[in-house]
């Protein structure tokens, strides 16, 4: 469950828009990693953020039909970073945001599982006619604040 957080001019916000294509996912994850490094997340936490963002963008590219771009927004809070990944695909499938059970290994379906495992808070909002918004939050470790 996503905790309600203040939004406004006093909350620093960094936004990047990428074409909804595989070759641009690296830019999304590197942007988030750069912001996280400035916030003094440690190396492991930055790696978690990079992977979660990449998985979210990959999911959008593979499943959001007719979406030309993905918008990645980072909001900087005292206790961590909120990352919002928005696509504009139509007809989003419920299967897409379901975290799968681990069991017999199979190709695909691990992305959402990883996002939920690596981030502290994760929430999907699916609008069938306007796309999907994934909001996630990574807390700064106590030693990093």
């Amino acid at each position: 469950m996503m905790q309600a957080r203040e939004v406004g001019a006093e909350i620093p916000e960094i936004e990047v828009r990428i074409p909804s294509r595989a070759e641009w996912v690296a830019l999304a994850r590197l942007t988030v990693a750069t912001v996280a490094a400035r916030m003094h997340f440690n190396v492991d936490e930055i790696a978690d953020l990079k992977l979660a963002v990449a998985e979210a963008c990959t999911n959008a590219i593979q499943h959001a039909r007719e979406s030309d771009e993905i918008v990645i927004t980072c909001r900087i809070y005292d206790d961590g970073m909120q990352v919002i990944i928005r696509d504009f695909g139509i007809g989003t499938e419920a299967e897409r945001i379901r975290s799968r059970d681990l069991g017999e290994p199979r190709v695909g379906g691990l992305g959402v599982y990883l996002i939920r495992a690596l981030m502290d808070e994760v929430e999907y909002s699916v609008e069938s006619d306007s796309g999907t918004v994934l909001t996630m939050f990574k807390r700064l470790g106590d030693s990093n604040r």
Partner: protein, 117 residues
């Protein structure tokens, strides 16, 4: 430019064992290249792989999917796949996803090859 790439090489160890060395980042952009590279080796009759990921700086679920797909294909022919990685983040991802129980991961190529003999 945000474009990433992956370098792939293969050499033979002990005849039927292929040592595939991956260098770079494995994500949604590069994983099709890895899939194609390994797939062509399988098509040519190689079913036993030691995949050296020591120089893989990043891997996501698409990369894991390629490894799982390759493993399934070689198992159909009685083959096997071992991995080499000392990267803590890579090992963490295998751990979180439970794939640590599916793949044997070694610290060196020699160990990974020996395990296949």
């Amino acid at each position: 430019m945000a474009r990433v790439d992956i370098n792939m090489q293969v050499r033979s160890a002990n005849g039927s064992i292929a040592v595939v060395s991956l260098d770079g980042e494995i994500d949604v952009y590069t994983s099709p290249k890895v899939k194609d590279f390994i797939g062509k080796l399988i098509d040519k009759g190689t079913y036993t792989f030691a995949i050296d990921m020591q120089n893989v700086r990043y891997i996501d679920s698409t990369g894991l999917g390629v490894l799982i797909g390759g493993l399934k294909r070689v198992r159909e022919h009685g083959g096997a796949v071992t991995l080499v990685s000392t990267n803590p983040q890579t090992r963490k991802i295998f751990d979180i996803t439970g794939l640590i129980k599916v793949f044997d991961i070694y610290d060196s190529v020699d160990e990974a090859v020996d395990a296949l003999k």
